[in-house]
Symmetry: C2
Subunit: 281 residues, 2 copies
């Protein structure tokens, strides 16, 4: 695995790879890799000749009171894991390499960003969209792989690629979970010991919703309130949101039908966790 730290070198490498007729699979990450990321690499290896992973904690997508500074980082471990997983090139730029000057352009995500994590993290998806345009232009992949744990991010990137005509296929990859169902996340390390077990409530509440739907329930509010009741009864977490939308266009719907996204976010002492499920009704 080769580590590349400058945009210029990455673009030169890509130009050569494309001249050689190689297809490129791209796994953008913020590092602190876990099995979720490694599953993305596995999928990328199946579809593309060359796998490029980026590790970049993008300041633009963190709010002023969010965890940019304390977002977990461990580049030595990440290098080892990426290498073992079969990544060919690790693009690992510094912030000042990615943002050489102040940006003269601001991207505002409309509609798609007004719900779920977007309403709780104003500006977050604006920053995601901006850095993805940059990364897509640097890596110029044929395929880009995103975990469904960040379902709203999948919705945003799908629109970004379609509406701006990037010649890239977005490949959503199912969420990887711990044995007890907790979705893998770099932020799980911030759970207190006594919170770790409680943290499964979010996944369990999704299973509860699935059960209700299988039993014929289609009322959005009823399902949401059952999920909230379950989370409150079985954990110390506070609920940020439990919501249901169409997917991937994230429109509200009163009676569930078609492909729907059921998503929740809950807070523990030092961490906010998200999880979701899509279900075709």
């Amino acid at each position: 695995m080769e580590i590349i730290k400058t945009i210029k070198e990455m673009q030169q490498k890509i130009e050569q790879l494309k001249k050689d007729g190689q297809t490129i699979g791209f796994v953008p990450t913020m590092g602190y890799l876990h099995e979720g990321h490694l599953t993305l690499v596995e999928e990328a290896r199946k579809k593309a000749d060359i796998v490029i992973m980026s590790i970049f904690v993008n300041p633009l997508q963190f709010g002023p009171n969010e965890d940019f500074d304390r977002y977990p980082r461990d580049i030595e471990r990440d290098e080892r894991l990426a290498n073992q997983a079969g990544v060919n090139f690790l693009f690992y730029p510094e912030v000042r390499e990615m943002y050489k000057t102040e940006m003269s352009f601001h991207i505002t995500v409309k509609g798609l960003a007004d719900v779920l994590c977007g309403s709780n993290r104003p500006g977050h998806f604006d920053g995601v969209a901006a850095v993805l345009i940059k990364l897509f232009n640097i890596v110029q992949p044929h395929f880009a792989f995103f975990g469904m744990k960040d379902a709203q991010q999948v919705a945003v990137v799908t629109s970004l690629v379609e509406q701006f005509n990037f010649p890239i296929e977005i490949v959503p990859v199912p969420t990887v979970r711990e044995e007890d169902g907790l979705a893998k996340s770099s932020r799980n390390v911030y759970l207190l010991e006594e919170e770790r077990k409680d943290a499964t409530v979010l996944f369990q509440s999704l299973q509860l919703a699935k059960g209700l739907i299988k039993a014929g329930e289609k009322n959005r509010e009823k399902i949401q309130s059952e999920m909230k009741r379950y989370i409150n009864q079985h954990s110390s977490a506070s609920i940020d949101y439990v919501e249901i939308y169409t997917f991937p266009d994230l429109k509200p719907l009163q009676s569930l039908s078609g492909l729907v996204l059921i998503a929740g976010a809950i807070r523990f002492t030092n961490v906010r966790l998200i999880d979701n499920m899509t279900i075709d009704i």
Copy 2:
């Protein structure tokens, strides 16, 4: 010359051309071609193997009270001229092909768009930036050619490419003029007969400024007021702006030094004309 009307077909063609090792020069236009555009094609032919011209009157860059509907169009003539000039592929999509759905993303151009035409045409460069991201992703050129008549557009696109890391070289091309100095423009056809002669005042006021600068004048306000006086004395036009900034970062400066842009916009009965000059002091 081949005419291509869909994004998909254009992208497939590009993929094949790149596989064949061809370099691509791109000339984006809004059609109603004049010698200025054809000079861009000429420059593109010098630098690239294949020249792709787009003709697309982009609704996003016109304000609600601007001339989108009456912007001059003549596709048969454009096809003939593009073909004669040596364009290999003419990309000519309809509005509904370029904007299949309402955009979920709005791009705001900051700083660079707050001066000159930007302050007179709010949202104009936002729309320019959005359509250029689309066109760059569709055509994926090695080089893109822009006329210096739209100097602020050159400044915006230069930043766009740098800050979003498009692997594209922007090539600015000097303004092409009529014999009497009037900058070629698709909008010149809207000059009334008696206004046509007066229309040269803008170019003449730039020459006046150049003369003053050569004679040692460095005071921005003095030069601007001399230019305004000249335009008012010698024409029926009303002045939108006469301004001087650094180029290409468009910062104000009191005493002229370095590369500066002197730019003006004036209005006649049915048309607003712009012109400019860069001068290294």
